[in-house]
Symmetry: C2
């Protein structure tokens, strides 16, 4: 099974590395990190990951997974990258995303008429691309599987593993990864975090990428999803 992750500059690396850890343990899995060339790709966390396939090398993976991050706007504006997602997604058995990777799938036209989820702060933007936003950590609609923000990629990948290879394999991977979470705070959701923490998050996002929403809106217009 060829599992292809889109790897791009500005990716939130845990969106990719979390599910890659789970899915790489599927029997027969080959993990491909795909980008336009094989140069190291800088992530959001201060280090680089190496792609191991180009778009030309991996035209039709069995499973496509698109992570998110502040680099998504550049991916959506990159015809080669969006074209690869569109073509790979049209052929793949599973078309999946984590976090704001769902908005790349959306921009590639792969979520029209599907239920999907994404990072909580971007949830209503799924509708720009014809998807129906669902407030859930992991959503499966036919062969589309989407995960919520960042760490949701682990839950999403275990759920997907169970679908693909059965519960026993999914449980064995969960035990191997000792995934028995015990967060020190209840701040992983808007409800749990409260208004002050939500504001602190938004301040930081505005500092890093003040144009993140306007660029997405512009892309939806340019690509013909909205007027």
């Amino acid at each position: 099974m060829d599992i292809a992750f889109l790897l791009f500059p500005g990716v939130t690396q845990l969106d990719l590395t979390g599910p890659a850890q789970v899915l790489s343990r599927l029997p027969g899995a080959r993990v491909h990190l795909v980008w336009e060339n094989l140069d190291p790709v800088p992530t959001d966390a201060g280090f680089s990951i190496l792609p191991n396939a180009t778009f030309a090398d991996m035209p039709s993976p069995d499973l496509l997974c698109v992570p998110g991050g502040m680099g998504i706007a550049d991916v959506i504006d990159n015809e080669a990258a969006l074209g690869w997602v569109r073509r790979a997604g049209a052929e793949a058995q599973w078309v999946t995303s984590v976090c704001t990777g769902a908005l790349i799938l959306g921009a590639a036209g792969l979520l029209e008429g599907y239920q999907a989820t994404t990072h909580w702060a971007w949830h209503d933007k799924l509708a720009l691309f014809g998807a129906t936003p669902v407030h859930a950590r992991s959503v499966m609609d036919r062969n589309r599987a989407t995960g919520g923000g960042v760490t949701a990629g682990i839950d999403f990948a275990l759920a997907l593993t169970a679908k693909i290879a059965g519960d026993t394999i999914a449980r064995t991977i969960q035990l191997a990864l000792e995934y028995d979470p015990a967060p020190p705070f209840n701040a992983g959701s808007v409800e749990g975090a409260g208004a002050e923490i939500v504001a602190a998050y938004t301040d930081r996002a505005n500092r890093i990428a003040p144009d993140r929403i306007t660029r997405l809106d512009a892309a939806a217009r340019r690509l013909g999803f909205t007027a």
Copy 2:
């Protein structure tokens, strides 16, 4: 704040990438992935990560974090690597590990007389190196902070973030990463997984690294921890 992760061939990449995602968002954090050279380092998940510092480049980080994985025995046998861990750990403000990275800290003499945790399947091996194993997902004893298996690195890093930078910053990072876990199964612990899944895990580990325990026992003798 210079945060140095040891990056080595055969690392369980999520041991590193999980806490790196959290800790990279500490105010003023610089993330360094340190290895003996700057060549791409193959991880356990089918892709490579690029080191961005050598041992010589990063003699005294503020925070040392050692991940685990099947490559730990080679690290313990590598004098340059173990020597760097020993020296960096002697100077660092925080000496930390995730998963079986605790056994590297132990082999470097950094856990003698400390409480610590590690991956469930290796828990009793901490005593080889003079540490007191504690069954907890995250253990802090003075400036030693250790996390349990793989995904425990996320809980561990949030707890450490709170210690270093306060609860508000830790909660804001938790919300940004939408860490509101909802595993599809209750199989992340030995108790939850049950005997059949534990046996499946052990079979796989025996296939991949049948000598993993004997090599560790031999290293403890060679390094003078045991007779």
